[in-house]
Symmetry: C4
Subunit: 250 residues, 4 copies
């Protein structure tokens, strides 16, 4: 959400090394894809772990996600310190990314947004469940992070390492965590997987809202179906990714 100029009092962390342009283009495209799908509005951000250095991650400067291109990508340490700020403003919520990468070594990409259909599940007691195969990653459960529990009345922003760590704690070993009165975070083992999960978290929210309207019990995916369907999704995510990337590539 908000942005800040990172502290400059301490030495900048050492870079994890140059990253292939195609990788950076994918990350910038991921940002535009999520804007194109309405998962991101004028805010929202998606990051990836540095391919060569597990304690660094890549994230655009504070910018509307629809506008992100390769030149906007910055590199950060897991503490959220930029390796080379060059006057660019960083997202204040970069701590959310860093602390999840720290806690979850399996996570290679993270997306955070606040689409209208998802927020209701974060402010009511209704657990989000997997309405279809595309949302199989939700079958293990979707925890809700209420920032009030540990931090009292805040500005809602996950704007410090402590808040990021508390969020990562609630995420646990799941793929998605909802943020009360704020939005959600989706993680994945690859960038396309994280983008796919962010897209289908939003779609699943709309489906579950409508299923709730019909009333009665909902025959969602069970845990084993979820596990099996998720494997299929991860194996075939390339088809969505290529289509979606094409739509946001000039």
């Amino acid at each position: 959400m908000p942005d800040s100029t990172p502290s400059v009092g301490t030495a900048a962390p050492v870079s994890g090394g140059a990253v292939e342009r195609a990788v950076l283009e994918d990350l910038a495209a991921a940002s535009r894809i999520l804007a194109d799908h309405g998962v991101f509005d004028a805010s929202g951000h998606v990051s990836m772990r540095h391919p060569k250095h597990p304690e660094r991650f890549l994230l655009s400067r504070a910018l509307a996600p629809a506008l992100v291109t390769v030149d906007d990508i910055m590199e950060f340490s897991l503490d959220g310190e930029p390796c080379e700020a060059r006057g660019r403003s960083a997202f204040l919520e970069r701590f959310l990314h860093g602390e999840i990468y720290r806690k979850r070594v399996d996570v290679m990409a993270i997306a955070h947004g606040h689409p209208a259909a998802v927020i209701p599940f974060g402010v009511t007691g209704t657990p989000m469940r997997a309405m279809s195969h595309n949302a199989a990653f939700l079958a293990p459960g979707v925890p809700v992070f209420d920032i009030r529990k540990a931090f009292g009345a805040t500005d809602i922003v996950v704007g410090s390492p402590e808040k990021g760590a508390a969020l990562a704690e609630v995420l646990g070993d799941k793929s998605v965590v909802l943020l009360r009165a704020h939005g959600f975070v989706a993680v994945g083992p690859t960038l396309p997987a994280a983008v796919f999960r962010a897209v289908f978290t939003e779609v699943n929210a709309r489906i579950q809202l409508q299923a709730t309207l019909l009333g009665g019990p909902i025959a969602a995916l069970d845990a084993e179906e979820g596990r099996k369907a998720d494997a299929v999704n991860l194996a075939t995510v390339g088809r969505s990714w290529e289509l979606w990337k094409r739509r946001v590539t000039p």
Copy 2:
């Protein structure tokens, strides 16, 4: 959903013969039409029976439906074996098509997708009914296929002849079958009819969701009204088809 390289151990089935380019163009357009209407997202597929050989059908290779063109169309036997793979990946769910063509000699085209508004009817006990004349094909009833019943906890994919046959069995003599936690299949006596039915299955789902919200009994089409209105729709489907095709033709 997922794709696979078909087995190559056995001899490929003999082709039903060359198909007119205009027919293939219609089938490719059908794929793009259903993407254009939001019935298909990055996945979904539509097939037609081979015009000259009732035991063959035509279906695109595994590809995002918005991108399908004539060159992507493959030919399959009802067992789902490609007549000429040429290295192209086939949709794993091609068995769904083959087994319905086997069981239903009246069916000439089949569409399968998973739009958000339709899925709720497959995971709740609410029967889908025909809310208006355009959905007359639903008036005889809309069965739900729950893959768990015969196959236990699966990856949801209709990925074998056995699963396809079980689905065809539940479809029976109807025009649409819902797939629990997955999507739906619509069939028709012509390609435009199957596309029309897929489009209006999605529209009807939205209407019924809203009618449910208003509460009270719903004065849906009865069986006789459905039969009569369906005849009108089949006679006039060309008007929708021409408009929709024009929208997806470069």
Copy 3:
């Protein structure tokens, strides 16, 4: 909905005379406006009374409304007979227009469509009410025409003078009538007024669905507010009309 080649056994009715091209362009634009707003899908039609002859009306040939241009406009008697068919197919539901013009001398234009949000009000017992000033024309009440009452199980099409007259009877002196399991008809004292009413019938349906979801009594416009607000709307409809027309004019 469906179309037919009008009977040719009897002499064609005499034309009401040439109509200014600008008037025909407005009528064709009205058709495209209603498609552009999603009030019409691949079907739907809008007509106007002949400016010089109250017993004639103008309506496009049977064609997807998004495609209508001046050359598609046909002229009909109130009996639905074309003055000059020239091989063009007429909408079978032209009788709906003719019979309303016959019964309602104040009506100068009529639109008929079946948007998803409106149909629920025709299949449930929930009366449509005026949720805001723009829907003031609904404040006097919105009757529902159930074709089963007089005609039993039909194909739903208002395809004869008798059915058109029965619909006109239910419309009475109101501005909008809902057709059970079919759609709606909106009428107005001018073409822009009828288009405005068709657009805001659809918008009002969405608003009332949402207000119903919130629960509790709804403080809709009362009859006197409706009368006063409608006068304002009729006086200022030109602003909407000009904007909407611009959007569909190449």
Copy 4:
């Protein structure tokens, strides 16, 4: 909503002075932004206080908001008298703007529209609450102005200084007021802030409708969270503004 030619019997008020073209361009863009976001339809208007004269404000002539450019901007006294009409029609609801500027010296910009999702909250007893950080400005409460209370059955238009003053009274010190069976007004300390609030009033309405559907208590932002999050939003509104402006700038 409606427009009128302002009275010419009295001397026109003296202008507050020339306004920079960039400021006027921002105001015209604000109008187009709100149309682009669906907050405005063919009507709706947004104004700003004159930068050099607190008793003057700037508002487009009566025109569809999507079409507004710099040349359409007029200047008015708080009484709603144009400084220089030059034959242009003024919005009749300009009084709404003038009276709020009179009562609220902190308000620098005002937007008024009637999106479908917001109206339900004005016709039912459900209070609108802040569903997420972006809607923090709603946390202090959202009053409802029912024009019937003081004026009986009207045409709903806020078409006189008296009606504008009554609306301003109900607004009080809040950021948004709902108008029964009509729409809403959002105010802000800057033009981008008022636009942001108008956009997120609409988004928040959609979120709250969906949260209501899920049922149970809603953990909305509390007053202190709202205060803190609003400060963040006001500090970072430029990111949304730049993106949105870019989208409506040729």
